[in-house]
Symmetry: C2
Subunit: 496 residues, 2 copies
Amino acid sequence: MTPEYEQFMEKVEEVDNLGKIDSILTWDQEVMMPERGIEARSKQKAVMSRLKHRLISDEELGQLIKELEDQDLTGEQDAVLREIKREHEKEKKIPVELLEKISEKESECVEKWKNAREESDFSMVAPHLEELVELKRRYAEAIDPDEEPYRVLFRDYEPYIEFETMVLIMEKLEKRVPEILEKIRESDAEVDTEAFKGDFPEEKQRELNEELVEKLNFDWRRGRLDVSEHPFTLGNQFDCRITTRFNGENLAESILPTVHEFGHGMYQLGLDQDNYGNPLGSARDLSIHESQSRLWENHIARSRAFWEQFLPTLKEHFPSFNEVSAEECYESVNQVDPENMIRVNADEVSYHLHIALRFELERRLVNGEIEVEELPDLWNDKMEELLDIRPGSDAEGVLQDIHWYWGSIGYFPTYSLGSVLAAQIYREAEEEIADLDEKISNGEFEELQEWLRENIHIHGKKFKTAELVEKVTGQKPSAEPFLDYIEEKYGELYDL
Amino acid sequence: MTPEYEQFMEKVEEVDNLGKIDSILTWDQEVMMPERGIEARSKQKAVMSRLKHRLISDEELGQLIKELEDQDLTGEQDAVLREIKREHEKEKKIPVELLEKISEKESECVEKWKNAREESDFSMVAPHLEELVELKRRYAEAIDPDEEPYRVLFRDYEPYIEFETMVLIMEKLEKRVPEILEKIRESDAEVDTEAFKGDFPEEKQRELNEELVEKLNFDWRRGRLDVSEHPFTLGNQFDCRITTRFNGENLAESILPTVHEFGHGMYQLGLDQDNYGNPLGSARDLSIHESQSRLWENHIARSRAFWEQFLPTLKEHFPSFNEVSAEECYESVNQVDPENMIRVNADEVSYHLHIALRFELERRLVNGEIEVEELPDLWNDKMEELLDIRPGSDAEGVLQDIHWYWGSIGYFPTYSLGSVLAAQIYREAEEEIADLDEKISNGEFEELQEWLRENIHIHGKKFKTAELVEKVTGQKPSAEPFLDYIEEKYGELYDL
C-alpha cells in the first residue's frame, strides 16, 4: 500500500462511515424516535448531507485520486478508486446550495404528500412536486448538461447497468407479462386465496416472525428485527437491522415482507468484514440488493418447499393452521390478482406492469414531455391500458407511492431489475447446488446462503453490476430467466 | 445579526449537531445495538470525534471569532461567542493524534476493566490504566503546560466553577458528613428498610415506571424510557431519552434511578427550542445537570410528600403494597447505611465520602504523586479512614466504577457538586413556591417544573455556572444548604 493510497483510504473511510452513521439516524427515525424528535433530526440530517458532500468533493481527495491513477494498483484497489472517483467527480459538479434546496424541498414535499394522500387530492401536493421535479432537472443538468436528464438520475441508482439494458428488460416485461396475465384471466383453475386470512394478534405475529428469521439462520448478534410503517433494511456487516409490519387479518402480509427484508439483510451481513468502511465491504447498487430480497421472497418464501418446511411452525404459533395444507399456503401466496391497484400488494407477475407505468411517466416527466398536473389522468389511462383497471381516486393512483415525493425519480426500474436478476441468479443456484429444493423443504438453507455469500455478497463493489451478474450466471442481465420462471410456475398453478 | 455572526453560527450549528448525532450513536449502542455492532460502531465513533475536532478547531472559525470580538454583540451572542471560543482555543491546542490515541486507549481499557472487575483482579487492567493516565497527563499538558494537570482535567467538565470553590465544598463535606454519620451510627431510632423488598417481575416494573414518569408530566412526544445496564439520559429539547434498570427483588432500585434520569430529562426538554443547535439551547455543565437529577431524586422522590402521592399507584401495580405505609416507603428510601461499599448504592449522606475518596486519589494520581499500582491499597485505606469499612476485594473497591477506565478523571467531584446545588436550588424553590410540599403530595408538579424551566433550563449556557446559581438562589455555590438539609432530615429520621 503506497502512502498516497493510505491517505486516500483514510478519507474514503471517513466518507463511508458518515454514510453508515446516517443510516443509523434513518433507522432510529423510522423505528425509535419520538414524534417531535423530527424537529432536531431534520437539522442533524442536513448537517450530515453537507458534511458528506464536503468530504466526497474535497480537493485533496481529488488530488490523491489523480496521483493514484498513475500508480500500479491491485485489482481491488483499482475498484475502490473507480467507485470513489465516480462519486467524487459527480459530487463536485453539484453546488451544495442545490443539494440543500433539494433536501429541504424533499422533506416539505413528503409532508404535503402525506396530507394529500390522506385526502386523496393530488392538487394539494402538485405545486410542490413541480418544484421538486424542476430541482431534480437542475441536479441532472449540473452533473451532465448534454445527457437526457432521466438517464442521469437513473445512473445515480444504477451506475453500472447500461440504461439500454434496463430499457430492453422493461420492454420485454411489458410485452410478455400481459400475455401471461391474459391467460391467467381466462384460466378456470381454482387457486386458494384464504390460507392466511384470520385473526392474528400482533404480539404473536412478532414471535412467529422472530422464529422465522431464526430458522433462516439470522444472526442476532449482528442484527435486529423491528416494526415500522414500511418495512426496510439498513445496516452493515456487523449490525444489520430489518423491519416488518403486521396486518392483524392477514399473516402473509408480515411473513413475506420479513423474508424480503431478511434477503436484504443477508446481503449486508455477507459483506466482507475486513473491508468495512470502503466500497469493497459495501453492497453493490439497488438492483443487486433487490435481487437478494426478491430471491428470498419469491424463490424461497413463494415456493412449495418453503411451506412444507414452515407449516408445522405456523401450526405451533397459530393452531388454526391445523386446517390448512402446505399446498393452500403455496397457492395463497402466489395468487395472481391483476385487478389490484396497489404496487406493494401486487403479485409477482402483475408487479412489473406497475413499474412499467411509473418508468414511462417519470421519464417523460423529468425530461419535460409531460406536466405534473397531467399525472393523475395519465396514470389512470396507463393503468387501464396495461391492467384494464382504472383507479377510482388519486390515493389509489398517483399518490400511492412515496418515491417521487421524496425525490426518488429513476428508482422504480431497479425494482423490476431486482426480480429479474433474482430469477437469473436463482436459476444458477439451482444448477450449482444439488437438490436445492429438497434442502429448502428440510429447512437447510446454509448451502444456498454460503453460495450467495461467496458469489455475490463477499465481493462488495469489486465488480461492476453487469460484470458481477455475468460472473455469477455466465450471462448478461436478462429478462429471460424471470419470464421462463413465471411461465413455468404460473403455467402449472393456473393450468395454462 | 452581522454577516460574520451568521457565518459563525452556521459553523457552530454544524459542530453542535455532530455532538447531538454522537449522542444518538451512544444511546443506540447502550440500548439497541446488537452485540457485534460494536465492531462498526467504534469506527463510526472515531470518525465522529475526528470530525468534531476538525470543525471546532477550524482556522476559519478562529478567524470569525477574532472578527466578532471587535463587534458589538448582544448579551446572548456574547455568551455563544464565549462558549465557542473556549472550546475552539482548547481543541486547537490538542493534536488530533493524541485524541485518537486517547480514544483508542479508552475503548481498550474499558474492555480490560470489564474482565478485571469480573475476576476482581486490578492487576489485569493496571498497565492499561497507567498508559491511559499518562495520555491524560499529556492531554492536560497540551492544553496548559503551566497548570496543575488535575485542574485542567476538572475544567473540561466544569469550565465555569472555580477549582477552589469545588475544593472548599468538598472539604466541608468531608468534615461535616462524618460527624453526622457518627451520630446516626449511635442512634437507636428504628428506620424501616423492607418496604421495597419483594418479587417484582420486570414487565410489571416497566409499566409502573412508565406511569411514574407520566405522573411527573414526561412528554412522550419528545421522549422515551428504555432499559440499559447503567441508567443514563441523552438527547435534546425535541428528543430526550432516559433509561432505567430493574432489580427483581427491590422496587426502589428502579424507581429512584428513573426519577433521577427524569430530572436530567426535564433539563434537556426545558432547553430553549429556538436555540436548538447552539450553546443557548444546550445544557450548562455536569454539576448543573446533576443538580436537576438529584433535585428530583433526593428532594422529590426521597420526600414524604412524594410517597403519600405515589403509594396508591404502587398498590395498583403491586397489591403487596397494601401492607406498606407511606412512612415506611419514606424511611426505606432514606435509610443510611455507612457500611455499604458501593458508591451507586450509597445513601444521600455517605455518598459524599465515596466521592471525597475518589477526588483525592484521582488528583494525586494524575498529578504524579502516586502510582497506579498503589491504587487498590490506597483505596482501601482511605475507605477505612472515611467510613470505617475495608473492601474485601478489588471488585468492591477500586474496580467498582467505570470512570477512570474510560478516561473520566476529574469527573467525580461534579456528582457532589450536583447534590449540593440541588439542595441550594430546592431551598430557593421552596421559598418561592407556596405550599410546595403540599403540591407534591397532591401530585401537582407543574409549578415546580415551570419554576425550574424559567430559572435554569431555558437559559442554556447563557450564564456561567456560578453566575447562574447566584442568579437563581442569590448566593454563590455553597455546601451549607445541603448540610442544613441533611442535618434536618436525618436529625428527624434518626432522632439525632
